[in-house]
Amino acid sequence: MPNSTGGGGCEVVTRQDFSDVTYLLEVRHPLMAKAARPGQFVIVMPHEHGERIPLTIADFDRVKGTITLVIQAVGKTTREMQRDIKVGSRLHSLVGPMGIPSHIGQAKKVLCVGGGLGVAPIFPQARAYKESGAYVIGVVGFRNRDLMFWEDKFRACCDELIVCTDDGSAGIKGMVTEGIREAVARHPDIDECVAIGPPVMMKGCAEATRPYKIRTIVSLNPVMVDGTGMCGGCRVKIGDRVKFACVDGPDFDGHLVDFDDLMFRLQRYRATEREASERFNESCRLRGGPGHGEAEH
């Protein structure tokens, strides 16, 4: 019998803080761990009054029956989760895996690019390509050395790993597009590129590979509510077609995606989101740091 999240929700079994904004949650959900495949995402609702936020699955362990999420605390919900969720906490709702799994084809040499919040979700793809027998070149980008994580995991499944940092404190100095240029210069026979990260970074990657006609897959992250195709909030322009990222994606051909449209659409609820964030700051200030009673509203 599937005991999805019945009862008290899904239990968080591990928490790891990579930096003051990035944290990892490993959540027990054996059925989802069994079903999850690279490229899929989940929707999390941390508490009863929370919003539903989509998060790409960063790893899954079928033996332990867990899935791993790596989250950047950027908005009210993700910062509140950072503050409140500990080992043993339960997420009010966790549903997935959603979206069409990435197509791990017969490519022989693959470039897996992850930047910022895209570093974690590129990992299952790199591992899947490695398992399919491809030569995998990983390119991961961080702002600086202190924000780096999972280097060992990537080293274990990549034949080559190029680390890029904005300030040059580790690996090469520059954005992931620098890494792509370096990789392409060394390997003229790359068949495929997968890029995950903020829209502006994926746009840069698509432009970097376009001159070489390397098939480039990107994973899109628009605003969505249900994640099952029902609300249409996540519609994206792919060439001259409109697609719903949640059920037609989230993977699309990066050379066809209208990234400007995506970036504008991500601003849709910015005013309300900002207000929520400010209220959250205020409530944190009133609380005088964590563990000082309620005073939430």
Partner: protein, 504 residues
């Protein structure tokens, strides 16, 4: 029963008993229910209006064939519990259906009284009985003899609920899977509280749980496990797919990706299920428009417009390419929307959504339409009137022009689909996979709550036949006598059914 004096049209109360409604100006600012339930005197008075005609067209007009004159008769006899029992034989959710059925096209549309006077307010009476049942805590849990069949229901909307109820009554172990974090489907995310309060839906779901039905939320069937896995690995003997048609349509005109343009589904889900209207107490954001244009004139469009009004819009306009007579909304909803001050632009269709230069919508360029020859749906086809273009101001544009088939089940199973992507099912709602049935919007395309419930019940009949279970409807309902009612001393409906016991 003692012979009653036959009623005639002249003996009954001539005017339909009005139900109290919130004042339009007041209610346009709140999410409380618009129409109040009858009180007991009003219900008595209205029940007197039923002629108890022998023809009973209303029963045939009801998609689930409730014995309408029977339950009304119980009301006149002040046997309210009896009235509830009569309704729930056919319909588990009277408080819901009494509120949202388009009665004017169904039972009330064919009511004999309606030939001369206003028809009996069957919907309001049904609702009154349903509300009374919730208040009194009545529920109809029949004696259920358990069998060993496991039935899985995909989707907890009206189709799934109706099928689940029938299968649970037949003795099966029923589990309903829902992708959202709350059960109820469109009744929860779609229909706003002022028309159907979520507390009513929850009360009706609690009654289903009393029948032993389990609800598993946060479960996206197709992706977490497939329909095939349910049958082959998870031990389900039969599955019903009632996932609804959710995949909102847009028109493909310029400007649809501008900010401020959204589907009615998104607006309603944010507002109803996610409580965005209670921001910041709830986290889901929603930026209400001041000048709202809603495209479409069905029930969803009416809900979207009235929600926008309650969220504080100054002006809400409806654009519909046909005329008022063709509008698919329930008559009462359309009337309520007009009362609340919604402006209707009949025979008008959008051509382009206009950009304010910052990627926000600022208006809609429209054209007037005229009605031409009837199309395949039998309605007159609207054609643009040359040179009639005009603009309306809008900072929010909501699409409520219907939905397409949701692709998830198609992507993840071998179920045969029809040309438009809906699940192909035969008259008994059996699909291409043995043991898998489907019904509701995912088979027919967008329809009404009660039609989905009718489909759920029809699928349950097919499912019982598939599992070799007796169909209690066959045995206990009065059916037109067959030429020979029994064969070898056994009721014809009982032929072919042996009591099968599976090893535990």
């Amino acid at each position: 029963m003692a012979a009653k004096k036959k009623k005639t049209i002249r003996m009954i109360p001539q005017a339909r008993t009005p139900a109290h409604e919130q004042d339009p100006r007041e209610r346009a600012c709140n999410f409380l229910e618009v129409t109040h339930s009858y009180d007991v005197e009003q219900a008595q008075l209205e029940a007197e209006r039923c002629l108890m005609c022998p023809d009973q067209p209303c029963v045939r007009g009801c998609p689930v064939n409730i014995s309408i004159p029977d339950f009304i008769e119980r009301i006149t006899e002040r046997d309210y519990r009896g009235a509830y029992d009569v309704i729930t034989e056919a319909n588990l959710l009277p408080a819901v259906c009494g509120r949202v059925c388009p009665q004017e096209n169904q039972c009330e549309g064919v009511c004999t009284v309606g030939d001369t006077l206003e028809p009996v307010a069957i919907g309001r009476l049904e609702r009154w009985v349903g509300d009374l049942a919730i208040k009194e805590g009545w529920s109809n849990v029949p004696y259920i003899e358990k069998n060993d069949f496991k039935v899985g229901i995909v989707g907890s909307g009206p189709a799934g609920m109706a099928c689940a109820a029938d299968m649970a009554k037949a003795g099966c172990d029923v589990t309903v899977f829902e992708a959202f974090h709350e059960a109820g489907g469109v009744l929860k995310y779609g229909i706003p509280d002022f028309r159907l309060p979520n507390t009513v839906v929850d009360a009706e779901i609690a009654k289903l749980e009393k029948l032993g039905i389990q609800f598993e939320c946060n479960t996206l069937v197709g992706r977490l496990f497939s329909i095939e896995q349910m049958i082959e690995e998870m031990g389900f003997h039969a599955v019903f797919v009632g996932t609804g048609a959710g995949y909102p349509s847009f028109m493909g005109i310029p400007g649809e990706s501008l900010n401020g343009v959204l589907s009615a589904n998104e607006l309603l889900t944010r507002c109803n299920l996610m409580h965005a209207r209670e921001f910041p107490n709830y986290d889901t954001p929603m930026q209400p428009g001041k000048q709202v244009v809603v495209i479409g004139a069905g029930n969803t469009a009416m809900d979207a417009m009235r929600v926008c009004l309650r969220l504080g819009a100054e002006k809400v306009r409806c654009l519909y390419r046909r005329s008022k007579a063709e509008a698919p909304a329930r008559a009462e909803e359309l009337h309520h929307a007009e009362q609340e001050g919604i402006e209707f632009q009949w025979l008008a269709s959008p051509l382009e959504l206009l950009d304010d230069g910052k990627r926000n919508v600022r208006g809609v360029r429209c054209t007037r339409m005229t009605l031409g020859e009837p199309d395949e749906s039998g309605r007159r086809r609207p054609v643009p009137e040359p040179g009639s273009e005009f603009e309306v101001e809008a900072d929010m544009v909501v699409y409520a022009i219907g939905t397409n088939a949701n692709p998830i089940i198609g992507q993840t199973s071998k179920l045969k689909l029809d040309k438009r992507g809906y699940i192909a099912a035969d008259a008994g709602l059996a699909t291409s996979i043995p043991g898998v049935f489907a019904g509701g919007d995912i088979v027919t395309g967008a329809a009404t709550v009660i039609e989905a419930m009718g489909a759920g019940r029809r699928a349950a009949r097919g499912m019982k036949a598939f599992l070799g279970l007796r169909d209690t409807d066959f045995i206990y309902q009065d059916r037109p006598a067959e030429p020979v009612a029994t064969l070898f001393g056994i009721d014809r409906a009982e032929h072919g059914y042996a009591r099968v016991r599976l090893p535990r």
